[in-house]
Amino acid sequence: MAFSGMRAIARFLAPGLLLVLGSCQGSSAPNAHDELVIGTEGLYPPWNFTRPDGSLAGFEPDYLRVLCARIHRRCRMVAMDWDGMVGALLTGKIDVIADAVQITPERSGVLAFGRPYALTTGVIATLRGSPLAALPDGGARLDFDHRGPALDAKIAHLRNGLAGKVIGVELSGAFDTFLNQSLGSAVSIRYYRTMGERDLDLLNGRIDATLEDESYLHPLLATRDGAALVLAGPRMIGGTMGRGEALAFRPKDNALRAQFNDAIGATLADGTVRRLGLQWFRMDASPGAAR
């Protein structure tokens, strides 16, 4: 009896539920005339970060505004954790990733990269008092695209210097692969969803060091908390660590990528990238800059 009453209710409610489900399916289908959804972390200053009012700011939000205007598309930036961003791109949640993504061989198998709009190196940061502060080859530039005995020797220095230490990196970030492949047996690696969590653990001394992009570390070191940190060891580029930051697309979205590439070329030529770099990184990070 109770049962038949419930069934009456169910019969009454079911069409409404179907209606709701149906209407959400039809939403946000990406096509040429709709807005582009651009994924970013919003937690990677100064590339992209979230202001207290919830808005996104930094190099990439500024730069993408310029690019979207050039290709005449409406764009919307959404924040999400990096470890879900590639999945979100591939499943159509977002259309473009703009999150200081390094062009690495591993990622090139899954993603289609646009033209790089910045070129930065990776570097180790540790607490001032740490023995790691005295890592050898300080400031030297290691290019992993030019393999040879000299490079192998420097990697060996690094492996010896970091042996037994705990290194924190962002989960599936560019430096994750390098640490795994080149130092994995010597160090223990701890993974973080966001930079902020990793920074807190570095400052707390829960991890001994981090491997991170210089463009992120320079501004951090300039803060009151960051003053406790120093950079150590060589500056690394190329190989699994990538050669330059670029937008990432779905491999099939060739037309969209070509449009963006043209716009990036134009902004590199007219000095827009240089100007934004000086504003946000206090350095010219554009790929052409001689460093």
């Binding site: 049962f3 009453g5 169910a10 920074d199």
Partner: protein
């Protein structure tokens, strides 16, 4: 840059560098998310209850299996699975119907559906218990008085079920409210996410997590007061509780 050399009271305040408004907005979103999840759970839970009590064996078994799985898997995995899995699933459904891939639903919808799916499994149990607690004789009296199924449900069964299910529903609501924090991993700026972002970018984790705890306590204790009031109203006939 941000968050540097700014005093804690400023960071927790309403000013340009303060996160107070963001935290309060996050609490609002947490509330909206939990309410949506609860509503989804109620509708689906009612359907599951009907299915469980169905005379069709396979339907009852299906509902039973749903409850077992959703109550046996961590809520975090349900959220993650739905967040990453729905776009592909929707695309597959659309492909079956010959339509283009519909893209992905917004994080708010994904999150509330994920929490709602779990909530439904628990609510179905509660509704079943509530229905079984209505004395059979009172239903018969309604039948004998000539009430049709809808009137019977509306006038006799529903009010009594409501009285029996309100306390356990209050518990489920509290769980929904707290489970909504898991949706933070999808990047939705609800309370947990805002406090995490603020803690990370200002490097003042204690202050911001403490602030978030206070706001959650406000939400949970305010809603338990509402439930207590509702219980008292819905249960006057049952005597002092």
């Amino acid at each position: 840059m941000i968050g540097d050399d700014v005093a804690l009271p400023v960071l927790l305040g309403f000013g340009h560098d303060g996160w107070a408004l963001a935290l309060i907005a996050g609490a609002g979103l947490t509330m909206a998310l939990s309410l949506t999840a609860m509503a989804i759970g109620t509708v689906l839970g009612a359907l599951l209850t009907v299915a469980q009590m169905s005379r069709r064996g396979w339907l009852a078994a299906l509902a039973q299996g749903y409850g077992l799985v959703l109550r046996g898997v961590p809520e975090l995995l349900v959220v993650l699975l739905l967040y990453f899995g729905t776009p592909g699933l929707l695309a597959a459904i659309a492909a079956l119907a010959g339509l283009p891939a519909p893209g992905s639903p917004p994080a708010f919808l994904t999150g509330s559906v994920a929490i709602g799916l779990v909530s439904a499994a628990y609510q179905a149990e509660v509704f079943r218990g509530g229905l079984l607690a209505v004395p059979r004789g009172q239903v018969e009296a309604a039948i004998a008085a000539g009430m049709g199924p809808f009137t019977r449900f509306r006038r006799v069964i529903a009010p009594q079920v409501l009285h029996h299910v309100l306390p356990p529903l209050g518990n489920i609501w509290q769980f929904n409210l707290k489970d909504s924090a898991l949706v933070a991993i999808t990047g939705l700026a609800e309370l947990m996410r805002v406090s995490l972002v603020a803690a990370g970018s200002t490097r003042r984790p204690f202050a911001f997590f403490a602030a978030a705890m206070v706001l959650y306590l406000v939400l949970t204790s305010a809603s338990s007061a509402v439930f207590r009031f509702a219980e008292a109203r819905a249960g006057r006939w049952a005597g002092g509780r």
